[in-house]
Symmetry: C2
Subunit: 382 residues, 2 copies
């Protein structure tokens, strides 16, 4: 089966149909009208996605990789010039071996990396902005099922993701248990916790506090809500790291040439850790839309695989046909290891939580994923 | 020795000199001109303070209690109508027994509870606002030494505080080792860590992001930077609690009558934990000045008893004459127990860290301080 015959792919810039499937190059799929879980409707949802490798004859080698909150579909470099965010983990001869598997990753609806989001235009040519529908993790999965249909994939060999990506692939198993053979959930939970919601609220409040946010309809204005988005990222980034790592890297050192213990008034220089967070904030502001950050953050707050099934327990108890692999980062203090243990215990078949050992905290799911290589080779990609 | 004969006390509202020392009633001391550690100068710094009990003949029964970031001098109710924030711990017959000890607590310079701060007026009658000097923990201690002088206290029997109050009393021992007999440091460190600085930066950025902040000179305006101060408090409050406590209290429950998993657009209702944080934010906004929050937060960022002594180690090694009592909350994830262990190890005499056992996190230093009663009775107030 060839991918090209089954799906209307096009290049967003030229709007030309593509007749080839290059590894790691962003393509698009028109999925048509979509009614969101909580009632919103968009007339035409486009999904940006990438693939690596070749789908085999019986379509049994397809692997779906879901990105995290500010991630995107560019998991591995492939034929593009840009490095992927999991290059050491996904590629020819890697743990997720694109010589053997057909790997797919889609940008989440509501985002700003190729799928329809708040910056996309309505039929009258105006950005959706504040009118963009409330989006849930279930919405991302239901739209990705349309992509799987278009690609000729009835059953994923494996769905795999970390952090919000882990939430997304767990929801894949809950929404479509018959379409998921293996489910790999890294540093994620079955439902967002009170603390995760609390930190997320602070982030969305930061964006809304920015006077340039303009209620979400800022696209035509001179100034974007960069300061608010940057503050949201600062808060988030602290929770993605662990205290000992920040202490060893930065301690209370002053940024070079600056005096954080101020002088005669409130204007002071920065500590190194502040400069580091400024840098993280600036990087995100340069590549991400504040409305998308809001939409996806609130989608993550809504994460609850139990919704519609009575409870998390009931939702997961149905999944005896799915082979689960659950992993946590030992130093994670946003998606605490205890939460992964709780998830594993709620699954119908016995699952042992595999630990990524890292001083780095939650971000260990990105930096140290290769620690899972042997276990995944044995249990999933054997 | 009577208090009244040695100190110019006055009532701030009537500017009349007081000739009595009622327990738990706010009084004021003019300390005169003060040059701050980093160079700023104020012509006349007033300290608001309260006392409980009676100073004995040889002035050997004086206890200083230092409040935390948004605390104040009203430690115990005394003769006032307002409850104190440590009423179960300080009072007649309590662990800090005001029948035996003369207890003193001052509002920190830079705050907004009776001591000179950014909202105070300059000699021309304009609020200091953005011109208020950068303030450090050392500044608070040096001014409190003037208060001790005025009260006739050469040596504190004990200085005691939690969180930023712990930082302040540790700095008391470092600045004036000959004036401190016992030093009780609860849930605090010898220097602010990279992570504490990072969370503090996010809070100060939130206040500065508020369009009503107006660079700090907002006192004459119609609107105060309440949203920014509220967001700062939200961020802080999450770090003051512990994940399991939030989970048990709130989980992902919706606030009554609200729908946090939204409808067709971005306007959604709140989770209970969001409503709780809104409430915490609202409470602080009603009683605290945003500039004071900034000044005191940046003072806490600057906390480093080693400054001026070469290192923390060197500063603490000099303190063999001081009897230390170090305590941590076992679930604290802002002032991690490991940091209290590190502080204890850096002291010249052996000190065992005493633990407050609480699921609540950092705020356990407020809610569960009475757990230290027996140990303090034995080691400090025997």
């Amino acid at each position: 089966m060839s991918v090209e015959t089954d799906v209307v792919l096009y290049d967003a810039e030229t709007a030309q149909t593509l007749d080839y499937a290059p590894d790691g190059i962003l393509r698009h799929l028109r999925t048509g009208e979509y009614t969101f879980e909580t009632g919103g409707v968009l007339p035409d949802v486009v999904l940006g996605f990438e693939t690596w490798g070749t789908l085999n004859e019986d379509a049994s080698n397809a692997v779906y990789i879901a990105h995290a909150l500010t991630g995107d579909s560019h998991v591995a470099r492939g034929l593009s010039t840009e490095p992927g965010w999991w290059d050491g983990f996904v590629g020819p001869g890697k743990t997720v071996d694109t010589d053997r598997y057909f790997v797919v990753s889609a940008n989440m609806v509501g985002g700003c990396s190729g799928s329809t989001g708040p910056a996309s235009l309505d039929p009258d040519g105006k950005p959706w902005g504040s009118r963009f529908p409330f989006t849930t993790i279930k919405d991302s999965v239901r739209l990705e099922a349309r992509l799987a249909d278009a690609l000729g994939i009835k059953v994923w060999h494996t769905v795999l993701g970390g952090s919000m990506g882990g939430a997304r692939v767990l929801e894949w198993a809950v929404e479509f248990p018959e379409r998921v053979k293996n489910c790999v959930v890294v540093a994620a939970t079955a439902e967002s916790s009170a603390e995760q919601i609390a930190f997320a609220q602070a982030q969305s409040a930061a964006i809304r506090l920015d006077p340039d946010f303009a209620g979400g309809d800022y696209y035509a204005n001179d100034n974007l809500p960069s300061a608010g988005l940057g503050l949201a990222r600062r808060i988030a980034h602290i929770t993605y790291r662990a205290e000992p790592e920040l202490e060893v890297r930065f301690g209370r050192a002053a940024q070079e040439g600056e005096a954080p213990v101020g002088s005669a008034n409130l204007n002071r220089g920065r500590y190194q850790v502040e400069s580091y967070l400024d840098h993280q904030a600036g990087k995100l502001v340069g590549r991400f839309d504040a409305n998308s950050y809001l939409v996806l953050t609130e989608a993550l707050m809504s994460h609850d695989v139990g919704r519609g099934h009575g409870s998390v327990q009931t939702a997961l108890a149905r999944l005896s046909s799915v082979n689960f692999f659950v992993s946590a980062v030992d130093s994670d203090r946003l998606y605490w290891p205890e939460q992964s243990e709780r998830l594993a215990k709620a699954l119908p078949n016995p699952v042992e939580v595999r630990y990524i050992t890292s001083p780095i905290g939650h971000d260990g799911f990105l930096t140290d994923i290769e620690q899972l290589g042997d276990a995944l080779a044995e249990q999933i990609f054997s």
